[in-house]
């Protein structure tokens, strides 16, 4: 520190001309929140981070795009009259990859600040803990949505190239994208909350895999058992309330978006599915806020 040696120890004698005050504009919280959101979204894909951290998200994205590319190729070359898979069901069929993306990338946004305690530095700044939690969740939600929307848009482009009916395809793709928004909000909430509690990356990933992949498997098996062996439609549909994926698929089924569920979701089950999905998102957000606030005060 060469510029220090010359500074005498007593106060106020020599002013340090080297220090410049900042006279420029200080942005309000909305702009700060947007910056946090954009940074988080980029980080979810490893952008602005080490080269290594880009591998996982982009490999998963490529894997979830590959079947769509093949489908597009087949449809365009053979001139099929329809897509072999609906847009919404494509997301469902690639759910393992979608869940893995959530499980692997949620810790980037929800564990690191807590584990390294940099959360304290954020919360000592203008953004409050609810806004911070909300922006983190929004980053992951949009990242998840992009992850599912990219193959969907590719399929749609293929359908247009193959000359399929434009209005049919458009309404189907819009339904699928709407369902994906809800799905992304739920997956980001669940995996985010899990990652904010289990700060070790390994535990966070395993926890999210349990909640998103294993639980969904169990729910699907129980739905099938209830429907085919137990002969009970309502139990089968009711069990579907228990996982984000079965909520997504149930709503897709109810909305005629081209997803099959063991038993059809209809009647009062439809609002129930929608309400449970929204409550799940809200609950995760409240949990995240409480978690961030607690860690910051320690």
């Amino acid at each position: 520190m060469p510029d220090q040696a010359a500074t005498p120890g007593r106060p106020g004698v020599i002013h340090d001309l080297g220090y410049r005050h900042f006279e420029g504009v200080r942005e309000g919280t909305a702009t700060i929140a947007r910056t946090l959101f954009v940074t988080g979204l980029r980080h979810a894909y490893g952008l602005g981070r080490s080269g290594k951290s880009k591998v996982m998200p982009f490999v998963l994205l490529a894997m979830s795009l590959l079947p769509a590319a093949i489908v597009v190729g087949v449809v365009v070359l053979t001139g099929l009259g329809s897509l072999p898979v609906s847009y919404a069901d494509y997301t469902n069929q690639t759910q393992l990859l979608v869940s893995l993306f959530a499980a692997s990338q949620a810790p980037v946004l929800f564990s690191r600040d807590l584990r390294h305690r940099s959360i304290v530095l954020y919360l000592a700044r203008p953004l409050s803990s609810p806004v911070f939690a909300l922006m983190r969740w929004l980053s992951l939600t949009v990242a998840m949505f992009v992850f599912t929307a990219v193959p969907t848009v590719l399929l749609f482009a293929g359908a247009m190239l193959a000359g399929l009916d434009k209005s049919d395809q458009t309404s189907a793709v819009l339904k699928a994208l709407t369902l994906q928004v809800l799905l992304a909000a739920m997956l980001a909430g669940v995996s985010g909350l899990i990652s904010s509690v289990s700060l070790r990356r390994g535990f966070a990933v395993v926890g999210s895999v349990m909640a998103l992949i294993v639980l969904t498997g169990v729910v699907t098996v129980m739905q099938n058992i209830a429907y085919y062996d137990g002969d009970s439609e309502s139990v089968s549909v009711g069990v579907g309330l228990l996982s984000p994926w079965s909520l997504h698929n149930g709503l897709g089924n109810a909305w005629d978006a081209g997803i099959d569920t063991p038993a059809p979701v209809d009647g009062a089950w439809v609002p129930a599915y929608a309400i449970v999905a929204l409550l799940l998102v809200a609950g995760c957000l409240l949990g995240l806020v409480a978690r961030f606030r607690k860690v910051a005060s320690r």
């Binding site: 520190m1 420029g24 700060i32 530095l121």
Partner: protein, 322 residues
């Protein structure tokens, strides 16, 4: 117990608390603290668990007080804590740096989180990293930093947005003596030369006395004492004096001071002055004398500060005074 420290330059104190209290269940971290803090450097001293960090977190709005009120830079901590957090910087006592990010990237990001635009943030980050003395290392991931470098990076992020006030929670924690001295000088420059008010904590009164204009002593959550550093010094007053030059200059000063009735001995590059005799003990007379003598001899005064003392002395004094 209302005590005001130091010369308050503005119409409002930088920090003022009234009956501030924080209980964690049965633990009374802070009890009925009423104190005002002015510009410059204010030291907050207390043993482990005295409530120093608790006070800072309450002032930042990270913790809610059990009772009492406080204002920071004129803003109420409960109603306008967001406005406060826009204007203050915070260096926590614990590790808070992500290991896989460089100090440069991190400080830029933190400046943006305080509301600076992208290019302003980059400019400020480069500036403050230079001021805290992180040069080439600032492009390396912080995981590989020594404790001293980490403390500097933590300090840099606290200054990134040019705050009006910084809370430095044990900035000398874990530093070796040389790094400690560097850090303390930096703290002093922030308060006096950068014009940013500083509240700095430590459990060593001795080290804060060197750099603080005012000292607040906490003991088990209670205010034990709050006064200008000079007052501490006048009571038990050993002094350390350093002048520009070599041992020759040091000895010239020492001999001259001895002729004026002060007991002196060399200590390193400095002259240690024993507590002045009664005639010189009043109202900083010894201070003035030393300054005048140095001026007469044409010696540049580098340092004139109280000698290190231990907190226990103050506790003992505080105990007898109470």
């Amino acid at each position: 117990m209302t005590v005001v420290t130091g010369e308050l330059t503005g119409p409002l104190p930088v920090i003022s608390t009234a009956g501030l209290t924080k209980h964690y269940g049965t633990v009374h971290a802070l009890t009925d603290l009423t104190v005002d803090v002015g510009d410059g450097v204010t030291g907050l001293v207390g043993a482990n668990g005295a409530g120093k960090s608790t006070l800072i977190k309450i002032l930042l709005g990270l913790l809610e007080p059990t009772a009492g009120h406080a204002h920071v830079l004129g803003h109420d901590i409960e109603e306008h804590s967001q406005e406060i957090r826009r204007l203050v910087g915070y260096m926590p006592e614990h590790d808070c740096l992500p290991p896989d990010v460089s100090a440069s990237d991190f400080v830029v990001h933190m400046a943006r989180m305080s509301g600076l635009g992208a290019s302003a943030a980059r400019e400020r980050a480069a500036d403050v990293l230079r001021h805290v003395g992180l040069d080439e290392e600032r492009y390396r991931p912080m995981g590989g930093y020594s404790t001293g470098m980490k403390q500097r990076a933590k300090l840099a992020q606290a200054l990134a947005h040019d705050p009006r006030l910084v809370f430095l929670d044990e900035p000398t924690n874990g530093l070796d003596p040389a790094a400690r001295t560097d850090m303390l000088r930096l703290v002093q420059r922030i308060g006096n030369d950068f014009g940013i008010a500083v509240l700095v904590t430590s459990h060593l009164l001795g080290e804060l006395e060197q750099v603080s204009d005012h000292v607040i002593v906490l003991d088990g959550g209670h205010l034990l004492r709050s006064s200008a550093t000079g007052e501490f010094l006048e009571r038990t007053g050993s002094l350390l004096v350093e002048v520009v030059g070599t041992e020759t200059e040091r000895d010239r000063l020492g001999e001259a001071l001895a002729r004026h009735g002060l007991t002196c001995r060399p200590r390193g590059t400095m002259v240690a002055v024993d507590p002045p005799p009664p005639g010189l003990a009043e109202g900083g007379a010894a201070h003035d004398l030393i300054r005048d003598v140095a001026a007469e001899l044409g010696l540049g005064l580098m340092r004139l500060q109280p000698d290190r003392r231990h907190l226990e002395d103050v506790f003992l004094e505080g105990g007898t005074r109470a």
